[in-house]
């Protein structure tokens, strides 16, 4: 293979040693390694487009053994590595701070086993969330975490970010549905935890879930399968103002109901959704709630009546019930595609992921409106309202540096307000690079140190996903070189 020798020259095409590239090629095959600069550009960012950094190479392993061999090469050559799934992260989780190797899990797409009797499935990390859902059609079971990106995002990515979704309110986030993982550590060793766990064991699954690739590269997952509810009621309720809608949310929960989902879309986002799907949303209202009740047929009618009464008390203008499975599906498609439809409103967007105690929803909504006016930035809103998880979406143009700065500052103020109200800076999108600088505001130094020590136990040289999740000196230095990531902390 003279091609590699001829064309790889260190420092010209890539920063990686030619030797390392050659070794990678010998493990996964030459056609499964990208190192030419023009092939790497698309890997400089993910769903978050404000921070960018090009990796030095990208590999596509096809099984766990290959992932391990790749990690060993990186370990030997001291090359930083970063796992990547579908790249739908909204926080820059896939931006390789400081460069290095991106390890793609997208060729590992096999569903290895579905066991309905024991209610679990075994999937490779690159299996897409809806790929599993499609395989389960007709079985009466599903994998409950349903992030809005589920058609594209990988289950490995869902585990790494501990993804949530509209139905998290009742069914919990990803960690509640992971029974076991197989993963590759930074030195190339392969570990497995679960699927059967003794009460006496340390819960490593729980530790790995949500670790954003900083502890290990997840290669295989045993996921819990949950029976589908026997009956459903899905409502679309329109309110004159966002405040009315959020008050109704608090009251529904206070009444002791646990809806399967309680989702909010404000007028701004409805405009984009309506342009995309022509579903017939009213565009002259303040907000729409999508409420789903599930469970036993017998109790549903009563819950539905209670929900209706509460909505009416908060001035609901229109209460519609989805009257066929197709209509319900279309309604959910509208809600789940809402964020991705904002291209109809603006060339770039940045979505925040703050959490507040549910009763503080009206307060944070007011604050967001105020910030929008102050910074002169259009903000539209979706929210997993039942969880107190807000997603204000800032609309701007990435090509205008002044706008980017305003967006970053406004976003920071929203999240600071969330912390002040007793909430948190992320519910489900993760820290990525976007919120690194806020970690020090959210957590005390002792907490951060404990997390850092845990990371060192898994990832002693810090080569795996360096600088992410728990900020260290290096990450702050790297962030300093991106003048636009919220400035120095």
């Amino acid at each position: 293979m003279p091609r590699i020798n001829d064309s790889i020259t260190e420092g010209q095409s890539t920063k990686l040693a030619a030797e390392a590239i050659r070794e990678l090629c010998s493990v996964v095959g030459e056609q499964n390694v990208l190192w030419h600069p023009s092939d790497l550009m698309v890997y400089e960012c993910d769903g978050y487009t404000i921070a960018k950094h090009r990796p030095d190479a990208v590999v596509f392993p096809s099984d766990t053994q290959q992932v391990a061999a790749v990690a060993r090469i990186c370990h030997r050559h001291k090359i930083p590595m970063l796992p990547r799934g579908a790249g739908t992260s909204l926080a820059g989780g896939c931006v390789p701070l400081g460069g290095g190797l991106v390890i793609m899990l997208t060729r590992m797409t096999r569903i290895l086993e579905i066991d309905l009797r024991n209610r679990f499935a075994v999937v490779e990390a690159g299996v897409r969330n809806t790929q599993l859902a499609r395989a389960l059609v007709g079985s009466g079971y599903h994998f409950a975490p349903d992030p809005s990106s589920q058609t594209a995002s990988t289950i490995g990515g869902n585990v790494a970010t501990n993804a949530g979704g509209p139905h998290t309110l009742k069914y919990g986030v990803t960690v509640n549905h992971v029974l076991g993982v197989e993963a590759v550590l930074a030195d190339g060793s392969i570990v497995q935890h679960g699927p059967v766990v003794d009460p006496g064991m340390l819960d490593l699954c729980g530790v790995l879930t949500g670790s954003e690739g900083t502890l290990a590269i997840v290669t295989k997952i045993w996921v819990r399968l949950t029976p589908l509810p026997s009956a459903l009621r899905t409502l679309r309720v329109a309110f004159p103002t966002v405040e009315d809608a959020t008050e109704a949310v608090s009251e529904i929960i206070a009444a002791g109901l646990i809806p399967a989902a309680l989702e909010l879309m404000d007028r701004g986002i409805l405009e984009a959704v309506e342009a995309a799907f022509q579903f017939g949303f009213p565009l002259d209202v303040g907000a729409v709630l999508v409420i789903e009740l599930d469970g036993e047929e017998a109790s549903l009618e009563e819950e539905l009546q209670i929900t209706r009464r509460i909505c009416e008390r908060w001035n609901a203008r229109e209460i519609l019930l989805a009257n066929s499975p197709e209509e319900r599906e279309r309604l959910w498609k509208c809600r789940k595609s809402a964020v991705a439809a904002v291209g109809r409103l603006s060339p770039s967007y940045c979505i925040q992921d703050g959490v507040v105690p549910r009763t503080k929803l009206p307060q944070i909504v007011k604050k967001v409106q105020k910030i929008s006016q102050e910074f002169n930035i259009r903000i539209v809103n979706v929210a997993h309202a039942g969880d107190g998880n807000i997603h204000p979406i800032f609309l701007f143009d990435e090509r205008e540096p002044a706008q980017v700065d305003r967006v970053l500052e406004a976003g920071r103020q929203v999240l600071e307000e969330c912390i002040a109200l007793g909430g948190s800076i992320t519910a489900e999108h993760g820290v990525g690079v976007e919120k690194l600088h806020l970690m020090r505001e959210q957590y005390r130094p002792e907490d951060l140190t404990a997390m850092r020590r845990l990371r060192e136990a898994f990832n002693p040289d810090g080569l795996l996903t360096p600088g992410k999740l728990v900020p260290d000196e290096r990450s702050l230095e790297w962030l300093g070189t991106y003048p636009r990531i919220g400035g120095a902390p």
Binding site: N32, D39, A152, A276, G343
Partner: protein
């Protein structure tokens, strides 16, 4: 692996020249920025699903083109290979919640790159000049070129040639082409200039014939005409109509495509046509898109022409058909041709029509909306990716247990028929309107051992 170009030292693309070409012929730059980089389209993309590489995804390709536009990236051999591997199947358009018109980015962009001086092999040039542009667009030339094949097939030696591997002696693209030719059957006469409606005429429609479609699938045209007559249409078939120009347009010969477009406008200018019916999705999509492709003073005329174009499924579903008298007790499955499902957003109409055939059991095809790998002339230019997708399609078809697979597009039919032949699979492929025609003629198509596309 498809990425045979991977890691080849790129030719130093002449950036300035490229920038200029892209400014002149390329897409409206505003469209790049309609993409918010969410990545939801990736899973719909056949090349990404196969390769898992962002460079081979819609989001990645839009990003590459945008980077070239912004001057951050030179359109070198690597970048071009990613853009060329795109099937232009538009599955990403259907998937994109932001409504990014991907086709209106990639088509002009590739076109602009084609305007640059090319380094192509002799064979590529032969294929492009003589075969794709010299023969394909002319239905008479195609039939002429195919007549020895028809003869060889009649004498039963064609398939022996294929079996003996003699096609392998041909240069690659021609070999691909030879392997695509289905059993041609008896030569049918050309359609007359006019066929009257059965009963009181409810509509007067033009029938578009195309090139490959008429060369190889004349039976589909006859079937379409007969079904249109049954549905109460006077059918006008202008003799001077020509190829839609899609092949030319997609290999970068935008000027010839423009001439063909104008010739078709003239051919169908006869007054009083309620619609111009097209039975192959690729042609239909191109005809509907005429107004977007060129900017000159024929714009308005092209817009009016395009407004009359109807896919045959779309048209019959809207007009309504009399109940077909014949029973067809078969299991069938329907493949969504990209240029129908994604480019024209027609998915329900053909299914509604098929549901009216007594006895027919329709089974949904898994991944029905994923490209079969045909994509116009794609299977000639990128055979490896085309083969991968073809095999994937056949596996899905076989999983349904159907005896008949239906597709409303010549390219898909050729590709699927080839996969069926290669695997000696017990399925026949045909156009949905052919099946409808069988039902009106109260016949059942031969399936099993008697079928025409497998040997």
């Amino acid at each position: 692996m498809e990425k045979n170009l991977a890691n080849m030292a790129p030719e130093a693309g002449n950036s300035n020249l490229a920038q200029e070409a892209i400014r002149k012929w390329g897409p409206d730059p505003a469209i790049y920025y309609q993409c918010v980089h969410c990545g939801l389209c990736t899973a719909a993309c056949p090349t990404y699903t196969e390769l898992g590489d962002e460079n081979e995804s819609p989001r990645g390709r839009i990003y590459l083109m945008r980077l070239v536009h912004e001057g951050r990236l030179a359109p070198d051999a690597r970048v071009k290979s990613h853009l060329e591997l795109c099937l232009d199947c538009r599955a990403c358009e259907t998937a994109c919640p932001s409504g990014v018109p991907y086709g209106r980015i990639i088509e002009p962009f590739r076109n602009a790159l084609h305007q640059l001086p090319q380094k192509e092999s002799l064979w590529q040039r032969f294929l492009q000049r003589w075969v794709l542009l010299g023969v394909f667009p002319y239905r008479k030339r195609i039939r002429l070129a195919l007549s020895p094949v028809r003869l060889a097939q009649r004498l039963k030696i064609y398939w022996s040639l294929e079996r003996l591997g003699l096609f392998r002696l041909l240069p690659k693209p021609l070999r691909e082409m030879a392997s695509l030719v289905p059993e041609l059957g008896r030569s049918l006469p050309p359609l007359p200039a006019f066929l009257p409606a059965k009963g009181r005429p409810k509509a007067r429609v033009g029938l578009f014939l195309g090139c490959v479609a008429d060369g190889i699938f004349r039976g589909v045209h006859w079937a379409t005409a007969r079904v249109l007559q049954q549905a109460g249409c006077d059918v006008v078939i202008p003799e001077n109509q020509v190829c839609c120009g899609a092949i030319h347009f997609h290999v970068g010969d935008s000027e010839t495509a423009r001439h063909l477009a104008d010739a078709n406008l003239a051919a169908f200018s006869a007054d009083g046509l309620d619609a111009i019916v097209v039975n192959h999705a690729g042609c239909g999509a191109m005809l509907k898109e005429y107004p977007h492709h060129w900017k000159d003073d024929h714009q308005e005329a092209r817009r009016q022409f395009a407004a009359k174009i109807r896919d045959v499924n779309e048209f019959l579903d809207c007009l309504g058909i009399p109940p077909p008298p014949g029973r067809i007790p078969l299991k069938a499955t329907y493949h969504d041709a990209c240029h129908l499902a994604h480019a024209q957003r027609i998915t329900a109409a053909p299914r509604r029509l098929l549901a009216q055939i007594p006895g027919l059991e329709i089974r949904e095809l898994p991944e029905s909306e994923i490209c079969c790998g045909s994509a116009g002339t794609y299977n000639l230019l990128h055979p490896r990716m085309a083969d991968r997708l073809g095999r994937r399609k056949l596996e899905n078809i076989l999983a349904t247990g159907a005896e008949v697979v239906l597709a409303s597009n010549a390219g898909c039919l050729l590709q699927i028929m080839r996969e069926i032949r290669r695997a000696k699979a017990p399925v026949v492929a045909m156009h949905p309107i052919e099946l409808l025609d069988y039902a009106y003629r109260e016949e059942c198509p031969p399936v099993g051992n008697n079928r025409r596309n497998s040997r």
